[in-house]
Symmetry: C2
Subunit: 339 residues, 2 copies
DNA sequence: CGGTATCTTGATATCGGTAACATTCGATGC
DNA sequence: GCATCGAATGTTACCGATATCAAGATACCG
């Protein structure tokens, strides 16, 4: 009554400043009883519980998360660090970070956890990141950064990407090697003997696709022509294939490590008067929506990003709980369409 | 020494359990002195400050954010709610939520704020959301939801979208009306007299684009053919144009409210033997990276999402501080390429 | 040299919850 | 009828930081 706290500052933040103590007074019980009544597994008489809950609802009581986190010594928060590098040769057209994010958010929400989002590019990490229970790292060149962060934060960490030799941290990713193999498999089953691999073999994930592709073909005595290509755009795919055609290279199949490259390739082939897939078969990677809407609809290797996000979240939580967690690779599957 | 706290649970969370009190003991000063030494504007002797800071760095001291937030009665957190509706007719290929998110994260980081990410789709909001200092809402059908949330949370809120009649909350969006007008402008300057509008006029933002487009043309006595179209995919753009061609509709320009639609339209035109842009000019909307990589490169209306994110963040913070904040519309601009 | 102004540091209380232990009270057993 | 048990609730003490007010140390003034 006498404490005119309501007149503080903007009265915005402390507006709903109803605490458990207030609620306890209203209900004629003690703080702890209120706490127990509101908590899921508190041992309270049904009558009291209902009364308290009704009162809480009526007055719009909000639990003070900071207080609880402080007392419980945990944050109920997982930090997600997204590497935002709108690099020249890798347009941010990829919907994948957002899909991963969606999966992560969904899974963590069901576990009653919050997602704290941070992007690199901004200099320092938000201070709250170090308070998180665990960290999930998304991004391409994430590897070195990951180690760096790990040392600095000393937090459980899960990384999205290609599993590497260094197993310093848990990695979740889709099976790029198998993806490459499934493309090879299809070429073989179609009787193609002169396939071309189009992509950047220096990139960790792409290297996996390349390895899977080459290895599988080798079993059939087929050695693909590898066109090492740094850029990831449709235009560069178009150009690459045009160069092949101009040189009169003989090939009857193209596996591009990315749908844009594949679409560019298809366009170049058609423009040169070749038929797709009769003369040359083309397989892309990522199965982006545009590929399905492409004309002709693109055959592509699909990755399940949403599920990847869910998995990342689960592993991060498990890691925090001190459970033993292993890296995991998600299967990818070839979606056969018209090319 | 005697407190074997280290053996708690997984020893993961309380591992770096170095508190200010510990640090104070090490430095031979009191807690509050440590607090002041670490805070930016604390009044402490230079010697003490350096000593404390060195000690903190050496032992990897981490500030307990929960404790500070509790004491300071604020969360230093802004909740971002992303409406994730992987609806059939609106593929999540749009990179825009991620770009907005990037802008928001960047701006908030410089203000030393954290981003708490939540998606709809998950039933209940994370409990931490109500602790946030403000809320930013991203998503298409956000409008009704927004009001609902506003009432429930009683938090300052900023919404991304088209400014509507109801000014219950602050809205940031790009100028769809102007975007539509700039497409019209280009058609006029090219001397096109039979333009087609392709898109869903029921959708708030699209309706704005339509209005701008029609209004601008009207000044020149031109009435476009409006093809009301619910879907947002390339395929549906393709189909829509094919229908027009089959009906022998006469038109020399197409304005699609989305790049995918536009690309589908271009494809249909080319397939029908028409030349783009000589016979029919096509303008898309959003200027997605895919469009630039399209063959031929797509002319499109560009929206500055990153800046939009920054603006959303700024307004959310201002709102929290109790400042007067108005809705704002960002200019969009036509990027002329080959179509 | 006494006294006050300034600078630096400290003791204490507090933010809003929850764990651990204590207490009350009715029910049950013998 | 008395002891015992268990359910329901309360008391107290924290979690780790910071604001407030007070006190000690040092410098400066006439």
């Amino acid at each position: 009554m006498h404490k005119s706290r309501r007149n503080d500052k903007a009265a915005a933040a402390p507006a709903g400043a109803l605490t458990m103590a207030d609620l306890a007074r209203l209900a004629g019980v003690s703080k702890i009883t209120v706490s127990r009544a509101l908590s899921e597994n508190g041992i309270v008489a049904a009558g009291t519980r209902d009364k308290v809950r009704a009162l809480a609802a009526e007055h719009g009581y909000k639990l003070n998360v900071s207080a609880r986190n402080l007392r419980l010594r945990q944050s109920h928060t997982i930090a997600v660090i997204v590497e935002m590098k709108p690099s020249v040769n890798r347009p941010m057209s990829d919907p994948y970070p957002l899909e991963l994010l969606g999966g992560i958010a969904q899974e963590l929400a069901t576990a009653n956890y919050s997602v704290l989002l941070t992007t690199t590019r901004q200099g320092a990490l938000a201070p709250a990141v170090q308070a998180a229970d665990a960290v999930i790292l998304l991004g391409q060149g994430a590897r070195q950064q990951a180690v760096h962060l790990f040392d600095r934060l000393r937090l459980p960490m899960v990384v999205w990407g290609a599993p590497g030799a260094d197993d310093a941290h848990v990695v979740v990713g889709s099976d790029n090697r198998q993806g490459g193999a499934s493309a090879a498999e299809r070429f073989v089953s179609l009787g193609r003997h002169h396939p071309v691999f189009l992509g950047d073999t220096d990139h960790a994930e792409m290297a996996e696709r390349h390895a899977g592709f080459v290895t599988h073909l080798k079993a059939y005595g087929i050695a693909p022509l590898v066109v090492n290509h740094k850029a990831f755009t449709a235009e560069s795919g178009f150009d690459a294939v045009r160069v092949l055609l101009r040189r009169k290279t003989h090939f009857d199949a193209v596996f591009a490590i990315n749908d844009l490259l594949a679409m560019g390739a298809v366009r170049a082939l058609i423009e040169a008067g070749l038929r797709v897939p009769e003369d040359v078969t083309v397989i892309g990677y990522d199965d982006i929506p545009l590929g399905a809407a492409f004309i002709p609809p693109l055959t592509s290797v699909h990755q399940n990003w949403h599920e990847g996000g869910v998995l990342l979240a689960r592993k991060a939580l498990a890691l925090f709980r001190g459970e033993k967690v292993a890296s995991e690779t998600l299967p990818s599957r070839l979606v056969v369409r018209a090319t």
